[in-house]
Symmetry: C2
Subunit: 233 residues, 2 copies
Amino acid sequence: MFGMSIQPSPARSERRRNTLSLDVVLTEAVAILDEHGERGLTFRRLTEGLGTGPGGVYWYVQDKADLINLACDRVVANALDAVPEQPGEEPMAVLRGLALAVFDELDRHPWAGPHLTSNPGQQNTLRLLDRFGRLVTEAGLPADQQFYAASAVLNYVVGVGTQMARALSRVVGDTDREDYLAAAVARWEELDEQEFAFVRRVAGTVREHDDREQFTAGLDLLLVGIGRAGGRA
Amino acid sequence: MFGMSIQPSPARSERRRNTLSLDVVLTEAVAILDEHGERGLTFRRLTEGLGTGPGGVYWYVQDKADLINLACDRVVANALDAVPEQPGEEPMAVLRGLALAVFDELDRHPWAGPHLTSNPGQQNTLRLLDRFGRLVTEAGLPADQQFYAASAVLNYVVGVGTQMARALSRVVGDTDREDYLAAAVARWEELDEQEFAFVRRVAGTVREHDDREQFTAGLDLLLVGIGRAGGRA
DNA sequence: TCCAATATAGAACGTCGTTCTAGACCGTGG
DNA sequence: CCACGGTCTAGAACGACGTTCTATATTGGA
């Protein structure tokens, strides 16, 4: 589960001319995950879509876990590519933009979230953490707080982003995510009024506003803390 | 995956005298998860330890996913029980204590973390969110920020807690988590110095300090933001 | 042209989650 | 005291899955 291949199994130095490739495999895997959800991704379906056998896939991938990790890695890569590094910009603004890029990508690929949360095993999640770290550093945060500030931001973005992505997700295919939000809110409103006083109170207001807006509003709460600890607002 | 049974499948109203029970099943499941990790929890092993067949387990549980959800729910319940509600205390102090209770429980049951992050499907995770929400409300946070403040705290606690729990976890049994931290730090120090400037810089300092201390230090960063947005420090 | 390395297909294996069926246990009403 | 229906349990059986193995095609360099 950990320490999985970051490079494909064999040395990847030279160019090859094969009809199959890691890129093709991952593209198909992502497509299946998008359409059928995580439980819908099987080697049968994958190899069928690829017109090949398991042997072909296992050449590029170590494991099913590895396959999913690499697929998640690609999702994060999309978000990183959407916000190129441009030195000199206001760090907090860049951070906000990066967070929204991740949010949008999680909206497109809701299956990825749970695998991202709290394990920077994947190269690009680590890259994301690194960019958050450099940004809070730029913002003037003291050295001993930088790592946990960056972690806090990463966990908020991925955690809350995943939650909202699921809530927003259209009903698709035979996947397991149904009318998640409706069901969730309905369940919330059936809860004991005393024991769940808070959740019941806010249940209604959660869906009234634009989700991206609320997402960044929550993020700003973190950033205020980070900004105060550093020099700026 | 969602909307799973919170009560066991049949009506649970009357007392029964059976040798098996949901409680016994979950206790065994948690024990196996602790010892062998998530992949080590199979129905064979579970029924063997229980001295029963699959039929017995399926009477109390809908699914394997349901089983794991219920096991996670119990873990969160432990944390909640460790910090009983006592009105009148300083809300931020209570919040910090609750966060540490979750941290300790995740340290004991590292498999639970990933299932908790970003899906309050389980009753007790929702209960945890509710308590965080009431605490930030007590701290004077404006109404429109309460939900996302509570979410930020929940995600930080579970996300970072899971990460650190894995890092701390002793090597046990045949589970898949090895010397996670050593491997992680070693990998971090092999990264490209330019691309991962931040991670490489902080890699060393991460393990120098006490983990619980750093965990709360990061949490305080959030709480500062929340406190400033509200009335207090 | 031949050889080793690279890359692929498909059959086969063992294990898993789950379902099905038969029956044991038990409180209750006749 | 005895059947009877609901509650609960054991084990056999099933189909699907991840994975491995073997055999073979394809290639670039000697």
